[in-house]
C-alpha cells in the first residue's frame, strides 16, 4: 500500500481537532507511510504532527481558498501517489474534497465515521440520512474519504515529533475565487461553552413562543438555553446559542435535548457532555445513540410534568 495523505485543516493559525482525528485514523489503518499536507505558514507547527512521516507544506496563503487549496492538494497527490486521501468533512473540506476527487477522477466517499483497510480495498462507513443509517462502501484506492468530526480520537492523533519536511508550490489558478476576510462571531449574552447545564431546544419545539416552556425548566435547573441550527435559521434564537458543526462545541456537566433528532452536525458539538438526557417522541431518533438517558415522549408533556414535579 502506498500510504495515506492527510490534508490538514486549520483555522485562525491552529490545526483543527479534525486534523488530529484524521492522523489518529491514518495511524490505526497501517497503510504505510503517512504524509501530512499543510498550507501556508502552518508547516511551522509540524512538530504537532508527529504521527506523520513527512509533512508537505504548500506555499500559499494561510486563508483557505477552494481554488488554491484544491490545486495544492492535487499536486501533493500527484507527487506522493497515496492510496487513501483523508479530507475533513467540514465546510472547507466540502470545497476541497469534491474538486480534488472530480478533477483527478478518484472515487469519493463522504461522511465517513470509520475506515477499514482490507489489504486489497477499503471499506468506508458513512453516516447518512441524518445519522439514521450507516452505509458501508467498498472501494479500492486511491480514494478520497471525507472524515466526520468527532469520530476519532484527536488526543491520540496529537503527537509531538519531527517529521521530515518538504515543500510544494501551489500551482497557479484562474483566480475566480478571492478570499476577502474572516469574520468573528458576535458574542452573545451567554457563552454556552462555559455553561454547566444546557437545555438544548430543537425543531420539535414547533414555534418560537413555545421555547418558553424550555426557559421555565431552565430556570428551575439553573441551566442556559442552547439550540439546534434550524431555530437560528428561523430567527427564533441567536447564533451564539447554536451547538454543532457550524455552531459551538460544548461540554457541559448536563445536556438535555428537547425535540432534537441528533443529526451528525449537531452531535459533533455536544457528544462530549458528561451526561446527556434526550427527550424525543421518535424512539428511532439518532440522538438516543449518544444520550445516556432517553425519554420517548412528547416534550411538552415531559416538561410540564417535570416542572410540576420539581416545583
Amino acid at each position: 500500500m502506498a500510504g495515506t495523505l492527510v490534508v490538514c485543516e486549520h483555522l485562525a493559525g491552529k490545526f483543527s481537532d479534525i486534523t488530529f482525528e484524521m492522523l489518529d485514523l491514518a495511524n490505526s489503518l497501517g497503510t504505510g507511510e503517512i504524509n501530512a499536507l499543510t498550507f501556508g505558514s502552518m508547516a511551522e507547527n509540524a512538530g504537532e504532527l508527529g504521527i506523520a512521516n513527512k509533512v508537505i507544506s504548500a506555499s500559499c496563503s494561510n486563508d483557505f481558498n477552494p481554488e488554491t487549496y484544491s490545486a495544492a492538494t492535487v499536486a501533493a497527490i500527484e507527487s506522493t501517489s497515496p492510496d487513501l486521501i483523508l479530507i475533513a468533512s467540514t465546510s472547507m473540506g466540502y470545497d476541497l474534497a469534491n474538486p480534488v476527487a472530480a478533477s483527478l477522477d478518484l472515487p469519493l466517499v463522504a461522511y465517513c465515521t470509520g475506515i477499514q483497510n482490507n489489504g486489497e480495498d477499503f471499506v468506508c462507513t458513512s453516516s447518512l440520512y441524518g445519522g439514521k443509517m450507516n452505509v458501508s462502501s467498498k472501494v479500492s484506492g486511491p480514494v478520497v474519504a471525507m472524515v466526520l468530526s468527532g469520530t476519532h480520537d484527536a488526543d491520540s492523533g496529537r503527537r509531538e515529533g519531527a517529521p521530515s519536511m518538504s515543500e510544494i508550490a501551489a500551482p497557479a489558478t484562474d483566480g475566480k475565487i478571492r478570499f476577502k476576510r474572516l469574520i468573528e462571531p458576535e458574542p452573545g449574552d451567554v457563552d454556552i461553552t462555559q455553561s454547566e447545564i444546557l437545555i438544548a431546544v430543537g425543531r420539535g419545539i414547533g414555534s418560537k413562543d413555545d421555547i418558553e416552556v424550555a426557559e421555565e425548566l431552565a430556570e428551575l435547573l439553573n441551566a442556559d438555553i442552547a439550540c439546534s441550527r434550524p431555530l437560528v435559521d428561523a430567527g427564533w434564537m441567536e447564533k451564539s446559542r447554536q451547538v454543532g458543526k457550524s455552531g459551538f462545541k460544548v461540554k457541559p456537566k448536563l445536556y438535555i435535548t428537547l425535540g432534537i433528532s441528533g443529526a451528525p452536525e449537531h452531535i459533533e458539538g455536544m457528544k462530549d457532555s458528561a451526561t446527556i438526557i434526550a427527550i424525543n417522541s421518535d424512539e428511532n431518533a439518532p440522538i438516543f445513540d449518544v444520550a445516556h438517558y432517553g425519554v420517548v415522549e412528547d416534550l411538552f408533556e415531559v416538561c410540564e410534568e417535570l416542572i410540576e414535579e420539581l416545583e
Binding site: 467498498k138 469574520i183 462571531p185 457550524s246 420539581l310
Partner: protein, 246 residues
C-alpha cells in the same frame, strides 16, 4: 441574469427508515419523500436574488416527486421549470453529469443548490458538479449578494466564524441557509400551476461512470446502545436530583 436551482427528492427522516431485503439500500416501499430542505433554501435565495428581469429556472430529475417539486417552485415564483428525462442517475456523480448537460445548454450565470442532502454518499453535488464543469464553487453559504458579474458570499466555518469570498460568475453555490425562511406555496396555487403551466423537458444522454465505489452494507446504528430509557417523571426528577442539579 439567469439563475438555476437544482432540486432533489430525498427520504423524509421523520419516517421510520428500514433496510431493504438485499441489505444494500433503503426499503422505499412505504417511505415518504420530500424536497431536500437545503434545496428549498437555495430556491428561496434564488427568488430573493432575482430582480424583475431575471430568470429563475428550477431543475429536477424526472421520476417520483419531480412534478411536485417543480410545480411548487413555479408556484413560489420560479420563471421556468425543467424536468430531466431519458435516464435515471445514481448518486452525486450521476446527478452532476445529468445536471451539467442541461446547465451547459442553458448557460446560467448562477447555479444554486443545497449544501448537502441526506443521501449524498459520494460527495456534495454543488462543488462536485462545479469542478466537472470548470466553474468556481463555494459551499456552506448563508449570505449572497450580486454586483455585476461577481457574487459576494459568506461561507460558514465552525464556532460561528465566517469567511467572505468574492466569486466570478458563472459560479455554483452550495446554500446552507437563505437569508429568509423559505416561503410557503399554498396547495391551491400549486394546483393552479399544474393546470396553467407546463414543465419543460430535457433529455439527458450521459449518466456518468458511477461513483467508483460499491455499497456493501446498510444498517441502522445500534439504537440507544448506551441510553437508559426512562418512562416516568419521578424517575427523571430523581435522576436530576442524583446529578445534583436540583
Amino acid at each position: 441574469m439567469k439563475i438555476a436551482v437544482l432540486l432533489k427528492w430525498v427520504p423524509d427522516l421523520v419516517e421510520e427508515l428500514e433496510v431493504d431485503d438485499d441489505g444494500t439500500g433503503l426499503d422505499t416501499e412505504d417511505l415518504k419523500f420530500k424536497l431536500n430542505e437545503f434545496d428549498d433554501h437555495a430556491l428561496e435565495e434564488a427568488l430573493l436574488l432575482a430582480g424583475d428581469d431575471d430568470e429563475v429556472i428550477a431543475l429536477a430529475m424526472g421520476g417520483e416527486g419531480s412534478e411536485k417539486m417543480l410545480f411548487t417552485a413555479l408556484a413560489k415564483g420560479a420563471t421556468r421549470a425543467i424536468r430531466l428525462t431519458g435516464s435515471s442517475t445514481e448518486g452525486t456523480t450521476g446527478l452532476a453529469t445529468a445536471f451539467s448537460q442541461v446547465l451547459e445548454a442553458e448557460s446560467c450565470d448562477l447555479i444554486l443548490t443545497g449544501v448537502q442532502s441526506v443521501d449524498d454518499r459520494d460527495g456534495q453535488l454543488g462543488p462536485f458538479m462545479a469542478s466537472k464543469m470548470g466553474l468556481p464553487c463555494i459551499s456552506v453559504v448563508s449570505e449572497v449578494s450580486l454586483s455585476g458579474q461577481t457574487a459576494s458570499v459568506m461561507k460558514e466555518y465552525a464556532g460561528g466564524m465566517m469567511a467572505e469570498f468574492e466569486v466570478d460568475l458563472p459560479a455554483v453555490l452550495g446554500i446552507q441557509a437563505a437569508r429568509e425562511t423559505p416561503r410557503y406555496a399554498p396547495v391551491s396555487k400549486i394546483r393552479q400551476m399544474q393546470q396553467t403551466s407546463t414543465l419543460e423537458e430535457f433529455s439527458i444522454t450521459d449518466t456518468g461512470t458511477g461513483s467508483g465505489s460499491t455499497v456493501s452494507g446498510f444498517s441502522q446504528p445500534e439504537g440507544g446502545s448506551g441510553a437508559k430509557m426512562i418512562s416516568d417523571i419521578e424517575e427523571l426528577a430523581e435522576l436530576l436530583n442524583g446529578l445534583g442539579v436540583v
